[in-house]
Amino acid sequence: MTLLVILTVVDVLLLIAGLAFYLFWVGSLLTRIATNLEECAELVRTIKAHAELIGPGVEHINQTGGVVAGALPLLYEMAEGIVTGVTPAAPRPEVPEPALPASGTRRSRLLAAVGFTPQTLSDSERTGGNPR
């Protein structure tokens, strides 16, 4: 009888002590997890604050960069016009020379056909450039 009572008390004490020990352990772990999760929430809020700057900033950069890219060809054309305008060119003669064909003047055969030989022609021209 006494043994049964003692074992019953031990059983109840074991149950209570075990529950208390494990619940204290779980409680400390959950407290640490809660602290870490609060820190995580704060970090997420910080990241959100950082990320809110990205959208408007990138949109601003994109808009301004588009304007710059559209204006650069105009600047290029204007600079090219300035370079063309200030490049020194060869001075033009007062009396322009007659335009001559690149192949040179051709000797007329009409005088030779009627038997007339001008005195100004040299021997080689008189013979037509062929040695007799």
Binding site: T8, L14, G18, Y22, V26, I33, N36, L43, H50, I54
Partner: protein
């Protein structure tokens, strides 16, 4: 103090209840051990998430430079407009 009389049936029931009680204590201990194991896993994963978020916060901390870059690009545009005006004036004089 006098001893309580207990018949064999009551004694057997008491012993049975006592054994069941010990079994319940062991089962509670086992289940709470499993609970501790799972909570420890959650603790480790939460610590990992916290470290990852710290690294992400450090990476995104430089986004404050984006508005400054936007202002710089706008300054480049303003300077380009000044060049445009200058070249426009010079081009008119050179062509004339």
């Amino acid at each position: 103090m006098h001893a309580l009389a207990m018949n064999p049936t009551e004694h057997t029931l008491w012993v049975t209840a006592l054994i069941i009680g010990f079994v319940v204590v062991l089962a509670v201990a086992a289940l709470l051990s499993v609970l501790i194991y799972l909570v420890k896993i959650i603790d480790r994963r939460v610590a990992g998430v916290r470290d990852t978020l710290k690294a992400a916060a450090e990476n995104t901390s430089n986004t404050v430079l984006i508005p400054q870059v936007a202002d710089g690009v706008e300054a480049v545009l303003a300077e380009g407009l000044q060049h445009h005006l200058f070249l426009g004036r010079v081009l008119g004089k050179v062509k004339s």
